[in-house]
């Protein structure tokens, strides 16, 4: 791959150029800010061109190409520690690059229409390009420190974009919350990095992966755990997942790009990158799998109860990320990356579809206000929607396709990746800690049922039945005439993503499906592609068991859809929810209250910290630290005053100073 690796820096730098172009010109010129087509066009191209470059690399590369690295320059040099700004091109990093730039370019295109009316248009696109730049650094870095730079960079962009409408205090708070939770994870990640450097003496992936033998089992467990904590922050897993649902305060394209398709998968990427390291400790793997499975089920149960369409999608994202962690923990790195890819397609499609819906609902509210009707409602709340399929046909069709894909119905993308995860988890049940993995498999199966259920609840509640807004407000009679489909720049993106959600799964067709008929088969393209970069657990199941599992997962998904259809078709949204709530009683309340995790953190961590700060630290700060600082400052000011005394402005005293200096110099040299 050495012949092509020189393209990699361009892939990274073009989005940076886009950021600088829009950022600097936008900051400098008011007239430039009005050139929205130019701004959006440049920003989109700044992501699309790297995508084309990545595509070229993809065709130039094959599954057995060697990894290649390119170093731009030495970045940090301190004693024995050196780090380059260097990029690593291999199958794994290229796969992530394709997803980031491909889905990224589509979302940029979509956002041109979505953000058209916004004052901060230029700022938005500058931040989006900066995000892509940081994300590409993260996935292409050839050492952990540069990866960490990208890791922090995407965190910063996430913060900036969640709080994009910063005048709204709640959104600003959501941005801060995301940032703080990520800090917890980042800190652990940083410590892991220190420990790795101490043991290996280098932060390059090449050295770390070839030096896995240097670690003792305990070190692997501790370092792996710290990396995992870092990953739970960025990828929204238990215990740090609570920031992601709040992060939906950002503009919808941001939710689609950062909080569904790319940034939140970086934790999965890092663990895949270090797969030979993680595979050394079965306990560590089990830990990863348990975190994943529990996150999946917890988030799915919360998603059952939400009415805010973006909140449902957010919890669904957390839940799907949980599936990916489960795959990682089961040693199925290919399956995890596979799900990263397919999830990027269908979840981006769902988020952008929800954006289209919100866009339409906002328009309705706006029109009603123009007519002098003061109807206030939440444009993201399903309870005011319903029947939208008539008015938003493209949005509806694409949303439905993506919903079927996430539910896991063959042959759409989500089916293949989710099935592979379930198979591999079951497969892990044959090895060390087998019983636990079988339990996790059961949890995952239940979660798969719930996924199909809540996603169809969402689709049916939003698009089927009658438009409920006029039923809720008498003033809003005839409001449906204001409902419009989004412009073609937005719907075309939806269709592309929907198409990808249909065919995306074919890159990972399980071998056994074909092998049953032909004897042996080698049709899993993704598995071949990632063969050299990730270290997968061996599949030991017989074909019969695999078929059994496959039908099981289809059956479960179909059951979820069937139940959802029975309950929610025909405007039964709130009535059915009330029935479910009654049936499950307190449990439903727990789900709906999001397990009170925010409240637990508030009570267990935030409030005690605040109280401790007020009672102890504040006093110590004011009396101790400030007192000391003030003392120093006073001493310095006093000294300054004294020394200043010599700065009289009188030239004689200046000459005096010189003479004293001369005497001192001569004395030191002559009378040593």
């Amino acid at each position: 791959m050495d012949a092509y690796v020189h393209l990699v820096p361009w892939i990274v730098l073009i989005p940076l150029a886009g950021f600088l172009f829009n950022g600097l010109l936008g900051m400098a010129s008011g007239t430039f800010r009005e050139q929205k087509n130019l701004i959006g066009g440049v920003a989109t191209l700044a992501v699309f061109i790297p995508f084309l470059l990545a595509l070229w690399l993809f065709f130039a590369m094959s599954g057995d190409s060697d990894a290649a690295t390119v170093s731009l320059f030495t970045w940090i040099e301190a004693g024995s520690f050196t780090t380059d700004i260097g990029y690593r091109l291999d199958q794994l990093s290229l796969l992530m690059t394709l997803v980031v730039t491909g889905v990224g370019a589509l979302i940029h295109l979509y956002a041109i229409g979505y953000m058209a009316g916004d004052e901060g248009f230029w700022k938005f696109f500058a931040f989006m390009n900066l995000f892509i730049f940081a994300m590409l650094n993260l996935v292409l870095a050839d050492n952990m420190l540069l990866l960490f730079l990208g890791w922090e960079g995407v965190g910063l962009c996430s913060y900036l974009l969640i709080g994009f409408w910063y005048t709204d205090m709640a959104k600003s708070d959501a941005a801060k919350k995301a940032f703080m939770y990520n800090r917890v994870g980042d800190f652990a990640f940083l410590i892991a990095m220190f420990m790795i450097f101490q043991i290996v003496g280098s932060l390059r992936f090449e050295d770390i992966l070839s030096g896995t033998g240097l670690f003792t089992t305990d070190q692997v467990f501790i370092i792996g755990l710290l990396i995992l904590i870092g990953a739970t922050g960025k990828s929204a897993q238990i215990p740090l997942f609570v920031w992601l649902p709040d992060a939906m305060a950002g503009p919808t394209p941001v939710s689609a790009l950062i909080h569904a398709a790319t940034m939140v998968t970086s934790g999965i990427y890092v663990i895949s990158r270090l797969s030979p390291f993680f595979m050394q400790s079965p306990e560590l793997m089990l830990f990863v799998a348990v975190i994943g499975a529990f996150t999946a089920v917890v988030a799915a149960t919360i998603a059952l109860t939400k009415y805010d369409i973006k909140a449902v999608l957010a919890y669904s994202t957390v839940s799907q990320l949980g599936f990916m962690f489960l795959a990682l923990g089961s040693g199925a790195y290919v399956a995890a990356m596979f799900h990263v890819v397919t999830h990027a397609f269908f979840k981006a499609c769902l988020f952008l579809g929800s954006g289209s819906v919100i866009h339409a609902m906002h328009h309705v509210e706006h029109k009603l206000h123009e007519e002098g009707k003061h109807v206030h409602f939440d444009a993201q709340d399903m309870r005011y929607m319903g029947g939208l399929r008539k008015y938003l046909p493209h949005t509806y069709k694409t949303f439905l396709i993506a919903t079927i894909a996430i539910a896991g119905i063959p042959p759409l993308a989500g089916f293949f990746s989710k099935d592979e995860i379930l198979v591999m988890t079951f497969n892990a049940g044959m090895g060390t800690y087998g019983a636990v993995y079988i339990g996790l498999w059961a949890i995952a199966l239940i979660t798969a049922f719930m996924t199909a259920f809540y996603m169809f609840r969402l689709t049916l509640g939003t698009f089927h039945g009658e438009f409920r807004l006029p039923q809720k407000f008498s003033e809003a009679k005839g409001a449906e005439e204001h409902l419009h489909e989004s412009p073609v720049t937005m719907t075309s993106v939806l269709w592309v993503l929907a198409a990808l959600s249909i065919v995306g799964g074919f890159i990972g067709i399980p071998n056994f499906v074909v092998a049953t008929f032909t004897g042996t088969a080698d049709v899993n393209l993704l598995s071949n592609w990632l063969d050299r970069t990730t270290m997968d657990a061996d599949l030991t199941l017989s074909k019969l068991v695999e078929w059994f599992l496959l039908f099981g997962s289809v059956l479960v998904a179909a059951a979820g859809i069937f139940v959802a259809y029975r309950l929610y078709e025909g405007d039964q949204l709130e009535a059915s929810d009330a029935r479910i709530s009654e049936r499950f009683g307190a449990m439903y309340q727990v789900w709906s209250d999001k397990y009170k995790i925010d409240e637990i953190y508030e009570g267990a961590i935030v409030r005690p910290t605040v109280r401790f700060s007020e009672r102890v630290l504040d006093v110590f700060d004011k009396k101790g630290i400030d007192g000391f600082v003030n003392f120093i400052a006073a001493a310095v000011r006093f000294t300054g005053g004294v020394v200043r005394y010599f700065q009289t402005g009188m030239i004689q005293s200046y000459a005096y100073g010189i003479v004293l200096g001369v005497i001192l110099v001569i004395y030191m040299l002559l009378f040593r």
Binding site: A28, A78, V643, Q647, G649, L660, V662, M668, L669, L670
Partner: protein, 476 residues
């Protein structure tokens, strides 16, 4: 054709010398300051380009050993011409707005630059003295540019009197060294066998001459008065180009004329570096005027740079050269922005309280100021951090640990006075309804270039440090 080749070794000198005369004539015949400005930029850019290409050329001596070229000297020329070019570019808007735009300024700047170029290429104490004096006399004139302003005239007079005083010591030192070694060539002085009292007194007075030029404490007292009194862009020129030239010449003298006496002068520089850092920083803390604060800050920076000189190794010298480069970039930048704010209320709008809330009007200037000030504090990823880091690291390698500790503490204290400017720019309410006009495109562009270089060499110092390191692997 030996002589023609020799002329090529001092090509930047020839360009700038000719430019000085040309601009003076231009003034006499057309009186147009604008033409003079353009001509100065063109000539300076040409000289800078030649100097940059010389960096990669050969090193050696010419004119019977009077001149040294290539390597460190060429880098000195790059520093001088960078300082000159950017101060000139920033000068026009400022001088026009404050009503001091006359063509003479540019010829004086060019003559001063000529002196600096000679200074950094001197291989002989007489050449060195010529360079220092050509530079200084032009600077005295420039300091007094604002004839009807008391502070400016006072600055010029003080500068001149003290400069003359210090020159006396320098010249006496040269004379004594000549007496001790029988030569004024740097190499011959290094070969002096009999190091008696005359020799050491000569060395001491030579050090004094340099201490004055780099404003080391207690030879620094002229600095704040002159920096504050002179027009701001001229201050930028003095603070960067002349400082850099003096330091490069200092390095040449220390490394070529006095390498064997290192153990002795190292202690002297050690003590004065300490004094300079401590006093420079303490006095900067109590200043309310930004120009004065920057004057003390330049004294403090001289102190950090002297740590590198005290270490006196090849690594330390190349670290000092890097530091000087970063110092040049960030100081012109900072003074450029001070000048920008100053032209809105005329001369003397430089109290830190004047800056309240200005950061949000014309945010680009506020952001640029932050870049330059953060770089001066020495915060990554800016070039100032790398400079400080490399100088300190080289000194630690030489065992000057206590000096480095003082340096680190002093730079920690410096955070206060640099950030104070930013606090006023961004966190205080604007009390007076000042309307900031948009800076000219060239003005903004040159500041942007300075900031970009500050960031670039902060992230990727390797390009430059490798080059600078290579200068010292060649033995003279």
């Amino acid at each position: 054709m030996e002589s023609a080749n020799e002329l090529l070794t001092i090509l930047p000198l020839i360009i700038i010398g000719a430019a000085g005369l040309f601009v003076m004539m231009l003034d006499a015949f057309t009186g147009s300051a604008r033409l003079a400005y353009l001509a100065t930029i063109l000539f300076s850019a040409a000289a800078l380009a030649v100097a940059v290409s010389d960096l990669f050329g050969p090193m050696g001596e010419s004119f019977h050993g009077l001149i040294t070229y290539g390597g460190t000297s060429s880098f000195g020329m790059v520093l001088v011409m960078t300082g000159t070019l950017f101060s000139v570019i920033l000068s026009r808007d400022y001088l026009e707005k404050t009503g001091m735009h006359i063509a003479e300024v540019y010829s004086m700047i060019l003559f001063a630059a000529f002196g600096m170029l000679l200074l950094v290429s001197s291989n002989n104490l007489v050449t060195l003295f010529l360079g220092i004096e050509t530079m200084s006399i032009s600077l005295y004139v420039l300091a007094g540019l604002v004839k009807n302003h008391k502070k400016s005239v006072e600055a010029a007079l003080k500068y001149f009197l003290l400069g003359a005083f210090a020159t006396g010591f320098l010249l006496y030192g040269i004379a004594l060294l000549y007496g001790a070694s029988g030569s004024t060539f740097l190499v011959d002085i290094a070969a002096t066998e009999d190091k008696g009292m005359i020799y050491w007194a000569g060395v001491g007075l030579l050090l004094v001459g340099f201490f004055f030029k780099i404003s080391a404490v207690p030879f620094h007292m002229w600095t704040p008065d002159v920096y504050q009194g002179a027009p701001t862009t001229i201050t930028a020129f003095m603070a960067t180009a002349s400082k850099a030239a003096a330091f490069v010449a200092f390095i040449l003298v220390l490394s070529r004329a006095l390498p064997d006496a290192r153990a002795d002068w190292s202690d002297v520089i050690w003590l004065f570096a300490l004094l300079t850092m401590v006093v420079g920083n303490i006095l900067a803390l109590v200043q309310d005027n930004v120009k004065r604060m920057l004057a003390y800050s330049s004294i403090a920076h001289a102190g950090y740079i002297m740590i590198g000189l005290a270490a006196g190794t090849d690594a330390a010298y190349s670290a000092v050269l890097f530091y000087l480069f970063a110092y040049t970039l960030m100081n012109i930048g900072a003074f450029g922005i001070v000048a920008y704010y100053e032209w809105h209320k005329g001369y003397d709008f430089t109290e830190v309280s004047n800056y309240s809330g200005l950061g949000f009007k014309q945010p680009i200037m506020g952001v640029l100021m932050s870049v330059f000030l953060f770089s001066m504090v020495g915060i990554p990823p800016f070039a100032g951090f790398i400079g400080k880091y490399r100088v300190f690291a080289a000194a630690v390698d030489e065992g000057l640990i206590s000096l480095v500790i003082v340096g680190v503490l002093a730079s920690a204290a410096s955070v206060y006075y640099y950030l104070r400017v930013l606090v006023h720019l961004f966190m205080k309410e604007s009390e007076n309804g000042i309307v900031l006009s948009r800076p000219g495109t060239l003005y903004t562009a040159s500041l942007l270039i300075l900031a970009a270089l500050t960031i670039f060499f902060g992230i990727n110092p390797g390009v430059l440090t490798d080059l600078l390191g290579s200068f010292w692997t060649v033995q003279y």
